[in-house]
């Protein structure tokens, strides 16, 4: 059945009202944010108050046009699992910014290509694991993506897709496997870019403990087109 634009808008608003009421029973969104909430569903759970330890799951058919601020400043949520039938590009601008409760972000079955990860996990101080490979082929901005992401241990990138500066110096708990994925994720052709990691001695010890003595310096040396800075 074909719907007019007004009918589509009315149905979308009804869906949002319903979602909001469900969230409202758990504390909900500040009512002063309602106009923003109605204007764009991409901020659907911006500042939402979830019950402590909440495991959030969302399945969508198509890749959202944008996921900007979708969980920014949300509280209580512990795990976020996203699945999508389709694939495509989308913005990951400040997706988890200020979401200090989230520990796991699972995109194993959410094959999207972020165009930006600026402020993605800015102040996501409890974030431990990003599960699922991130393809950075279309990403042009990673400013402050992992600012104060001090608990981050697990992250994986698609090999060779990182062509912009990345700064992980706050993430002192990165596993050897994560360090490996970050280094292997670096584009072999881009020039003029810098990867910033935590303390050299920490990275080296962590990496070599798994991959063998001397391995860290070998893999770093192989990234001849990248400047690698250690804090």
């Amino acid at each position: 059945m074909n719907m007019t634009l007004d009918e589509l808008k009315a149905r979308a608003k009804a869906d949002l009202d319903n979602a909001f009421e469900k969230g409202k029973s758990h504390g909900g969104i500040d009512e002063t944010q309602l106009p923003q909430y109605y204007m764009t569903s991409i901020t659907a759970w911006n500042s939402a108050k979830f019950p402590d330890g909440y495991n959030f799951k969302l399945s969508v058919r198509d890749v959202p046009e944008s996921m900007t601020s979708i969980f920014m400043y949300a509280s209580g949520v512990k795990t976020v699992t996203l699945t999508c039938e389709g694939t495509g590009t989308t913005s990951w601008l400040q997706v988890l910014r200020g979401c200090t409760s989230v520990e796991v972000f699972d995109v194993t079955n959410f094959k999207v290509f972020p165009t930006t990860i600026r402020h993605f996990a800015n102040n996501a101080k409890s974030l431990v694991s990003i599960i699922g490979e991130i393809d950075m082929s279309n990403c042009t901005n990673a400013g402050s993506a992992f600012y104060l992401a001090q608990a981050l241990k697990d992250i994986r990138f698609k090999e060779g897709t990182i062509s912009i500066a990345l700064d992980f110096h706050w993430s002192t708990k990165l596993s050897a496997e994560s360090l490996h994925s970050i280094l292997m994720g670096l584009s072999p052709t881009v020039t003029g870019q810098t990867l910033t990691l935590p303390k050299y001695e920490t990275c080296k010890a962590t990496y070599n403990a798994v991959y063998g003595d001397g391995s860290f310096d070998i893999i770093v040396a192989s990234k001849t087109n990248w400047t690698i800075a250690y804090s």
Binding site: T224, W226, I228, A229, Y230
Partner: protein, 60 residues
């Protein structure tokens, strides 16, 4: 057989290396870059710069 060696640039104790954009205690330079592009600043100077960068990251 090919042996790769990596050269690191180390800041002196109490100092940081910088080219105005990158700040580091230790650096592995990309091919084509030289150590002369970097100079040292003190921990105090770095902390002042860090506070500014922090404020920008919080506000932007």
């Amino acid at each position: 057989m090919k042996i790769e060696t990596v050269k690191y640039l180390w800041a002196n104790d109490g100092m940081w290396l910088t080219d105005g954009k990158v700040y580091a205690k230790v650096l592995k330079l990309a091919e084509g870059r030289s150590a002369e592009e970097f100079h040292e600043i003190t921990d105090e100077e770095y902390n002042t710069i860090l506070a500014t960068m922090t404020a920008e990251a919080e506000e932007s």
